[in-house]
Symmetry: C2
Subunit: 114 residues, 2 copies
Amino acid sequence: MADLENKVHPELIKKVQEQMLVDEEFNKLGNLYYVFSDPVRIKIIFLLVISEMCVYDISTLINATQSNVSHHLAILKSNDLVSFYKKGKQVIYFLKDDHVKRIFQLGLEHIREK
Amino acid sequence: MADLENKVHPELIKKVQEQMLVDEEFNKLGNLYYVFSDPVRIKIIFLLVISEMCVYDISTLINATQSNVSHHLAILKSNDLVSFYKKGKQVIYFLKDDHVKRIFQLGLEHIREK
DNA sequence: ATAACGTATGAACATTTATTCATACGTTCA
DNA sequence: TGAACGTATGAATAAATGTTCATACGTTAT
């Protein structure tokens, strides 16, 4: 009988392979968290957790240029985390999904503990 | 009285400013999610959610080079998401914190819905 | 002591990313 | 109609990132 202590662990390998996700799922997960990974985007998410908001207010609150905020909102939009509606000249953005709020809050818990 | 419909929204600005996080917290959040944002690292996290594991097994299971996995583990380690112990020649990595597991699972729920 | 094994690390390169600037688009109001 | 406002977009640049390769480190077994 092979000395499993000193080799790869075949029983573990097998167990994991049975539940392995497909690459496309890992990529989607990566994209989702990528959106959260930038300080400017996290700030935008933080704001939208509190309330829907127009681009100008977002720019003001996080001290970023309007252009920069627009670029980041485009990323949030293309990853389906936000949607928007128009109100006169303004574009009001809001979170599409409650998961976004929950992921944000879990992250906040994490960095605040210890 | 100013026409608030067509200007910045001062009452919203004020409300948000009262709960605004400090920049350091936003940066920490960004770093946390950054770790999740790469497909290779997400795969590693997925594996460690299932079980602690040595570097060689991780490399095998996700089809990556040992060097690549080591580099990514270093990132996970420096961001305090994993820890490790040694067992002979092997180094066994494990998740330090249950939040990591929960964040992963929330993300998975998100991408699977709809 | 030396070889074999599992892991870590540094350098180099190609790619991706964020920010800024200039400008265009669409809506409202005069 | 034209000016002002709010927003979007493309190009350019600088910086950050991921992967590979070569090699070093530490442990075990001969």
